[in-house]
Amino acid sequence: MGARKKWVQMTIFAIVLVIGVFTIMTNLSASDSKKYPQVGDKAPDFSLVGLDGKTHKLSDYKGKPVLVNFWGTFCPPCKEEMPDLQKQYDKWGKDIVFLEVNVDKNKVTVQGFMDQYSLNLPVLLDAKEEVRKMYGVMDYPTTFFINPDGKVEVKKIGQMTESFIDQTISQMAALKKS
């Protein structure tokens, strides 16, 4: 009688343990997906078609530092910082990848804008705003500086000055070398 009781107890505990582990595990993995990338987190991969017509993935640029800037043509501070970003792109473009993720509804608007201001930064089109939502971007412009390991080094909300962009990139480039 005693041995049978013990066996019953053990079985019950085993079942309870299995369910417990299942509970905790599914819960942990579920809550991960809701988190938006903060500094130090891995930058989620995405795939978007660019103005050049080609598909670009963030993972294509693994091993290189990436600057991801979320913007729209209707956003005045984004317009202000564009020329600075262009200058920085001209300076650093070989070492750092610039990805301008645009949320305008229509690519003609974006192309027109780029032509109007003589810009040639690489633009990715996120008209459905899927990547914006993935990154938890609430205000424009928002910029993510991603280091070669694929983690968010700096997250800047708001317009950036040229010196800020320059300094942040220099720091990232220095990291890469070391």
Partner: protein, 554 residues
Amino acid sequence: MFHNTKCDCGHQNPTGTTLCESCGKPLIDDDGSDLLEMRYDGMARRSQKSNPSILDKVWNFFSSVKIAVYIILVTLVASAVGTIYPQENTFLDMDPAQYYEQNYGTLGTIYYKLGFSHTFNSWWFITLLFMIGTSLVICSLDRVLPLYKALSKQQIRKHENFLTRQKVTYTGPLPEQAEAEAWTSLMASLLRKKHYRVHTDGTALLAEKYRFSRWGPYINHIGLIIFLLGVLMRSIPGWHMDQYMGLLEGETKQIPHTSYYIKNEKFNLELYEDKDLPESIKEKGQIVPKTYETQAVLYHCTANCDDNAAEPVLEEVHRADILVNHPLDYKGLQAYQFDYKSSPMLISVKPTLSNPRTGESFGSFDLPMNNPKDEYVVGPYKLKLKGYFPDFGLDDKGQPISKSNEPKAPAFIFNITGPNLAASGEPYMYFPRQIDKEAYSQDQINGAIAQKLNIAVGSMEGVQFAQYTTYLNIRVDKAMPYIWVGAAIFMIGVIMGFYWQHRRIWLRIDDNKLTLGAHTNKNWFGLRNEVAAAMAKNAIDISPKLLDKGGKQE
């Protein structure tokens, strides 16, 4: 600690038994006169063993009601804290870190950092619920088996000590003319009339009713366990989905993570008329919706579903009108009417290209505000789209910009090539809305070409306008049947346990002396009244109060 487990009556009881399984004589403290501990009728419970092993210790922990109460209290307090500020799942697409700081200041940031912003799906809260579940399982198992054993084999003739130490007890002489066996059988028939099941053994009697009510708590615990398991099953992949979508009238969007697309064909809103509204609401100028519904169409994607570049091919599978309390349901995929917003927006126009001087029309073309084509061919002319401003305006330097991403004041710049025009094409700016056309003097901007060509919408035909955005909640929940079954079983258990009570009355007559004891799990007041009433009909008058031995009830 060893107790002599063999009772005077000859029965051998398992270790840990406090009342003899056979005659009820107290095995411990048999000289005392305190109320007997009647839980589980004195049977040995697994968790009361001496020398507990690790396994036993864990078992005892979860089988303890005190521990269960603590766990429930912690859950209760944690839940209360979770209501202080809105939880993360109440706002969409916003970064929680910013949200709490912006709206609730320092206290909000602390709340967020401590993890309370998602209290109800945090790992520790789920662990608490899991512990409650475990406790339910083990508490019940620990008690139900001994209880079942105790109640299934009951002796009729109980030891006098057992009877006098019950909470309801009576000792006294039989009434004058009464004869022991006759009195007993009269008692038996009186109690049978009150729905008792009576067993007699000469001058001893056991009357019992509503034993099923004792199983109530165990049944309700089983119900809760099934309920919690049902909730847990939602984590099985494919069993649960919960997302929100906003659709403008006429818009079709993909339901994320599925191969289904849903379209808001039309949104209908009916408001209460002024005559139906009370003064206070009319004063504030509030509007109260009477009904609102989304006429929705569900599509399934059959080709090009994951392609970024190509348009997906859709096949209609279902149509329904979605109202609050009446969701769309297609093979377990459900869409509920969640909310709506007034968002007047131009969807598309069908302008005509004509010669303003001769009136000759060259044809018309469909121009949507979202995703216009790169090029349109109208008659002999080619219209190439060079620029598009959804919300046209001029910045402080007089340069054209778009003020927002919504087509609130659309402006198109075409490069037109064709007869009587320059080979490289001539620019033409087109404002679909009359109000913008005048505000920005479209004809003046266009200059010479305005004499040769005119793009304009002839009538309201071909103009698609959306008034509302509907917000739908898309859900899948395959675990629901189990959850409802668990809830139903719980209710049955609770009703069984609360609205009936298990009552037992024992009596024995020795040499004209009547000894009576009675027990119930709830409602001693009712039991005393019933015993006193039966005795009164059998010629012994006693007030219910006097039957009470005192001590704790329940």
